[in-house]
Each structure stands twice: as structure tokens, then as C-alpha cells.
Subunit: 250 residues, 2 copies
DNA sequence: GAAGAATTGTCCGGTGCCGTACGAAATGTT
DNA sequence: AACATTTCGTACGGCACCGGACAATTCTTC
């Protein structure tokens, strides 16, 4: 069964491992030594998260960091006029709340949750104490920071140079890597906001992709039908970022 | 004399302090305790850097990190077809080589030097040893990381939503903050590459800005004539990033 | 089943920018 | 001074995308 799944999706590495060894799916927590986990357990709690849940608001302190298990978070830049665009995503490979790790109490960005899922919520102070003098968690977060940098900076270039269609494929692939199954609950409206374009633009592109058999969608649901095709239609950015993630965290 | 300079440019905070107290202009080094500096001195050397000097190549290890004193570095994403766009800049407020700090030997980006200037070059291994267990340098680099994040992610949004003219002003302001004086040695061709647009596009914008009296240029030189005007013509991104830098590092 | 809300399909004029190209001006070279 | 080289000015067709608007479809609620 598991093997089947593997073959079908052909991208095993990023997909959330369905049978965690350590009680954790989150890649960072999963690899921590038992000693560290023992220290952290009391300040941690598994919480359910739903679409649109806000984890961080701009310039507002938040007492927690989050280690996603399933689902993902979007990091958003918010302009004065209220326009939001996604500048990065965090799945089970990472942690939401790097500013805490860096000793900056707040950040200028918004972080909100996408889809349904869960995450281990940890006390911000606890994270600070645990990482202040280095150690396994600090090392892991450093590497993750580098990976996130790769993602954000690639996105900056991508936003500048690539078409809506390419960027849309890119987003679908990245997201597909981070959720269970092939179906995503999202509307054109929503996707357009992430990509920073018009809703109508997404509708046009989605139509094209559907006619090409790459995806299928109806009323708030998108199903990935042909991942390899999507990868071909996407710009190189998806691969670049994913390779960097694999190299650093794999 | 110094007061004059101050008044003329009207943006004291980011401009490189002409009279460093500690022997350092670099904001990170400047604030390190003497004990730390003593440990680092032997592995450090002040080097001259010139336009186009390459500090890091993609996927290539480099044995050094750099603390700029004057001038600045550009972090560039390079696509397969050779297109380069800038995703961030590093001046005397920061350090070039964060991947080393993070324990990633290499990164996927290129870093090259802009204008003439100098930087304290430090042995990568030394930096690793000094920061591995936390400490003052580690703390400073963490905050700087957060600031750079702000810059890169704002740029991602900026690239998506703002016009060439706005982004051009943004770039000029950021750069102006990082060099001595009001004159920048740069061509339209060069600027267009940084912004990820056509050279002709930059020429058009530059003409507009010159006619408006904000800048003046001829054959490879641009002079900032009206900073406040530039700030008005720029998008909000410049301010957002600068405020974040001041908040975190100021 | 009907009414209402959410989501998607489509169209139109407008515009910012692209790709390209070529000439003019400024500078460097001998 | 004559030449080559670099840098800048400008123009043209084309296209991706925008802003806005409105209708059609699908799902939800009653």
C-alpha cells in the first residue's frame, strides 16, 4: 500500500511520512535526540489548525512557535492597501516562528494556516532557552533557515520573470508536496491572492491546465492529475527550491 | 564638516559612519565586545573589493565571510538561461556569508560586489567556531538574518506588484544608503539587470526621474539630487525594509 | 424543490512592459 | 584627430496581464 502510494506520486521525499518513528512527522522534531525532546515536551502541545487561522500578525508578538505535522502555513507580506502576497510556505519540513529563534520578538509579515492540519505548538520562551547556546535544535533551525532563504529568494526572482501559468504550477506543486493526497481545497480567488494576480487570471490558467489534463477542479477543489505534466509546465523555480530543501534537510 | 554632511544627506542612520569608534565601520563588528574581537583578529583581514568581484558562486564553497565597511554586495539568483536578478543587498550593516553561519557550506545564489569598497574578510571556520555555541556574534547575526529576511521577502512582493519606476527608486535609495556621497557609478544596463527588466525600460524611467530633478546621470554615473523626492516616487517597500532594519539593528 | 451564496467563465478596453532594433552621444584608444 | 567601444535615446509591434464588469454554474440553506 505504501509502496503504491510512493509510485503513484513519484515524489516521496517531501510528502509527509505517514508512519512517523518518533511520534513526530515534523522533520525537525523527528530528528532531535531523545534528551532534547524530553526537555521540550512539557512546553509543547499538538494543536489542530484550520484554513485561515492566523499564527502571526505583523508587528505583533506571539508566544508560540509551530512545528507543522500536516498542512502548511503561508508567510505573507501585507502592503498598506491591504494587498497580501505569499513570500514563503512552511510545511512539515520546518518551523513557523523563526523570528523568535532569531531573538526578534515580532516580524513585519503575517503567517496564516492553509488547509486543515495540525502542528506542535511550542512556548516561544522555551525555544529561546533551548537554542540560545546552540545544540541540535539550533543546528536544525539554522539549516532550515537557509532552506527558507532559498525559497523566498527564488520566489522574488520568479515573481519578476515568470508567467502566471508557470507560477501557478509552481505553487500547486509546492503545496501538493505538503498535504496528504492529491486534492486541495482552494478557490481561484484564494490562489490569485497567493500569487498576487487577478482571480480571472487564475481562472484562465486553471482552464488551460485542466484541458491539458494536468489538474481537475470544481467549486473550491483542485485535484492534481498529472504531476509530471505540472512539473513540465512549471518554471525551474520549483525544482531549484526543492533540490535545495533536499540537499539541506534531506 | 560632519554636521554638514549629515544635513545634506538627511539620512544619517544608514550611511556609513565616517568616524568609527572601534576601528570598525561595520555595524556588527563595531558592537562586539573587545574579548570577542581579540579572538577573531588573527583570522580577519581588511580587503579591497572592486565592482563585479565575485564573493560566492552558486554551489561552490568559499572559505571566507565578509563584513563590509564601505560599498555593498548583491545577492543574485541565477536562472538556467543565465538571467540574474538581485534578491538582496548587504552593506556595512551586515555580513556576506550567512550560509556559513547556518552550517550550509554552499548556497544556490551568487554574491558579487558593487562599487568600490572594502570589507573585513574572515575565515569561515573561525566564524563557525565562534558562533557555534551562541554568543554576541551569533546574536548579532541572528538579528541580521531577520533583517535580511525582511528585505528579501519585501522584494518578492515588490517584484510582483510595483512598477519599474517605483522599484528603480527603491533600489537607488537602498544603494544610496550604503555608499559614501551621492554619486553612484552604474549604467542603465547594469541597473536593468539588478531589477530584472530591459535596459531600455531603465533608460525611460531614468529620463523621467532626471527631468523631475530627482537624479542626474551621464555615461555610467548617477547622482542623487533629491532624496526626498526619490522616496516619494518609490513604493512603500523602501521604507518598510529600512524601518525593519532600524528596528532590528538600530 | 426554490432561493441565496459562493465560485467560475468570459469579455473588453487599457497599459505596462517586452523583444528588438538602430542611431546618437559620450568616452576610451592609438 | 580618427577610430572603436561603451552607453544612452527612442521607436514599433506585440503580448501578458490588469481592472472591471456581468453572466453562468455549482453548492448550500431552507
Amino acid at each position: 500500500m505504501r509502496f503504491f502510494y510512493h509510485v503513484k506520486t513519484a515524489h516521496s521525499q517531501m510528502k509527509a511520512n505517514p508512519r512517523p518513528r518518533n511520534g513526530f512527522r515534523n522533520r525537525i522534531l523527528k530528528r532531535l535526540p531523545a534528551v532534547v525532546i524530553r526537555r521540550l515536551r512539557k512546553g509543547m502541545r499538538l494543536v489542530e489548525l484550520n484554513q485561515w487561522d492566523s499564527l502571526y500578525e505583523p508587528h505583533t508578538a506571539c508566544g508560540y512557535v509551530y512545528f507543522p505535522e500536516t498542512g502548511m502555513a503561508s508567510i505573507l507580506s501585507v502592503l498598506k492597501d491591504g494587498t497580501m502576497t505569499e513570500v514563503g510556505t512552511v510545511g512539515s519540513e520546518g518551523m513557523v516562528g523563526l523570528p523568535v529563534f532569531f531573538g526578534a520578538k515580532t516580524s513585519a509579515r503575517r503567517v496564516c494556516w492553509q488547509f486543515q492540519g495540525s502542528a506542535h505548538r511550542m512556548d516561544a520562551e522555551l525555544l529561546r532557552r533551548e537554542t540560545r547556546k546552540g545544540g541540535a535544535l539550533s543546528d536544525a533551525l539554522h539549516l532550515y533557515t537557509q532552506a527558507l532563504f532559498a525559497q523566498v529568494s527564488q520566489l522574488a526572482t520568479c515573481n519578476r520573470l515568470h508567467t502566471i501559468e508557470q507560477r501557478c504550477c509552481c505553487w500547486l506543486l509546492t503545496t501538493h508536496d505538503r498535504v496528504k493526497g492529491d486534492e486541495l481545497d482552494l478557490t481561484h480567488e484564494f490562489l490569485s491572492e497567493m500569487l498576487g494576480t487577478r482571480r480571472a487570471g487564475v481562472t484562465e490558467v486553471a482552464g488551460t491546465l485542466q484541458r491539458a489534463g494536468l489538474i481537475e477542479y470544481r467549486h473550491g477543489h483542485v485535484t492534481v492529475r498529472n504531476r509530471r505534466g505540472l512539473e513540465k509546465a512549471a518554471c525551474e523555480c520549483y525544482r531549484v527550491v526543492r533540490d535545495e530543501f533536499d540537499r539541506l534537510l534531506g
